[in-house]
């Protein structure tokens, strides 16, 4: 499309609807085989398909208004199964203030839930992937690693952990949350220079942001969830690995001017979220984690649909 308002490769597409307003569009497909762990119910899978899309709207600071859903259904599914899917879609949409307004169904071998979201926004308020400058603070909206640890718990029965930790980790997988309120609050300030969600993993998102902005990042603090530290200790796995390379987490990863950080943090906290500084953007291209005087490379790998559940 000529004169695209949002460059190809960002999380959403936008089309002008006049007077500085844009229609914001997004589609993301959930496929049973690669996106739905065995212990996830159909209701949870359907809700997750909505959350995946809402998270991209959150990262751009856009309120979703309407969802369309194309369903590919295996012929063995019962009417009750399909009602469960419909209920999950509706629950996900209502949780974030949107409505399911239409869709399509057909037969398929996999469970396919293809969600399209629509909303409108002021063009100027969109938080795009590009805009970060060297010196900007790098910040995230939560703690990492729970989904990756939870998925290991679901897939590997040898993992052991206390019951409260187990519940928190599995909940992260089955009932992911999108940071919509936080994204909207940040967009209202106009101080975010670049934004992305962490659905493919924190490391992957950092590399995407770096690539789009021609900068590097030095990270001095990876917020690892307490439950992940405990899971990692009990099962002799690397908590940092889970937090950096896990994916299927829906936090926001943003950059902003250092002088705006305190105000942004307070605004995010006012809507019940948190904004944690984790490093800064650098002129030097490269992605490093500096902890206790030791520097290590952050690799460009993360959640891969084709491999993660093999």
């Amino acid at each position: 499309m000529p004169d695209m308002l949002v460059p190809f490769g960002d999380d959403i597409a936008a089309v002008a609807v006049g007077d500085g307003e844009v229609a914001v569009l997004k589609t993301d497909m959930l496929v049973g085989k690669t996106d739905v762990p065995l212990k996830m119910t159909l209701w949870q899978a359907a809700r997750k398909a909505i959350v995946m899309n809402v998270s991209d709207f959150a990262s751009k600071g856009v309120q979703p208004a309407a969802a369309l859903v194309a369903l590919g259904l295996h012929k063995k599914l019962t009417q009750k199964d399909i009602e469960e899917i419909a209920d999950g879609l509706n629950a996900g949409a209502r949780e974030y203030g949107a409505f399911v307004v239409g869709g399509d169904t057909g037969e398929a071998s996999d469970l396919i839930i293809s969600v399209s979201l629509f909303g409108t926004a002021r063009k100027k308020a969109l938080m795009l992937r590009s805009g970060a400058k060297a010196g900007d603070v790098l910040a995230v909206t939560g703690f990492f690693g729970k989904s990756a640890a939870g998925l290991r718990l679901l897939l590997d029965e040898r993992c052991s952990v206390s019951e409260d930790v187990r519940r928190a980790l599995i909940d992260a997988v089955l009932m992911p949350k999108a940071q919509l309120a936080v994204g909207l609050a940040l967009a209202s300030l106009g101080v975010v220079s670049a934004s992305i969600d962490s659905s493919d993993g924190l490391a992957w998102s950092l590399h995407e942001l770096a690539k789009m902005n021609g900068v590097g990042f030095v990270v001095d603090n990876i917020p690892i969830a307490d439950e992940v530290r405990r899971f990692a200790k009990d099962n002799s796995v690397d908590a940092l690995e889970l937090a950096l390379y896990g994916g299927e987490e829906y936090e926001l990863v943003v950059t902003l001017k250092a002088e705006a950080f305190a105000f942004a943090k307070a605004t995010v906290e006012a809507v019940g979220g948190c904004l944690l500084p984790i490093g800064k953007a650098t002129c030097e291209k490269g992605m490093y984690l500096d902890v206790c005087g030791k520097r290590q490379l952050i690799e460009a790998r993360g959640w891969e649909h084709f491999k993660s559940q093999l």
Copy 2:
């Protein structure tokens, strides 16, 4: 959604974007197993996935602006295959003045091409499924049966027919056309009382229109394509059956006031289309075909994805 501008069950969804304008949204999914005959190329399948959606926009009189595409791809597909799909999507969109602006890809067992279309329109100009009144003329934008006959030719090698007829029928299956120019021309007049496309078959569309409007239809003329008559004669099948119950055809089926018909017909012809009167809406609920003084019931059956290719 409260105060839905277009009732659930119509071909598109609409959300107000201010000042009498609406955002028009549609999603329709093509699944390899049920929607793609074996002899259809990936390019053709991708183009068809766009055309299916454009046809619904055509039936509402809305110009599509942007398409999003979620692709489910079998892991055996090569990069060349995927480029062929991308080219077909782009060709379909450009054929109707739209652009592919984004999407998503993942692995799936079937070929899945889930297209979402977006456009804007004046709320008042939308041609909805409901609005037909008893006495309205029933009209269609073309001749029927070619896709159904073409599909039989593709699936059953015993069918015989002359080479020119074969080419026309198979072309109808592999390269379907949406009646967008005709739909836009009709919408500009504001005289259409109800509109639907014939993608599930002419009979099915008539029953849908009747149900939405609380009317019946008496049809006195089914426009059967010449090639379908010749195919039917050579293969001892019923041409009327193919035209009424075939489906996968993308003509428009509309109702309008009798006094507006001549002007509407001239307007449609001015954009290279045709508008053929085939009957009228009646108070009496029921669906009949009156030909040569004989009355027969038009049944509520048509194209069914789950059965048609078994």
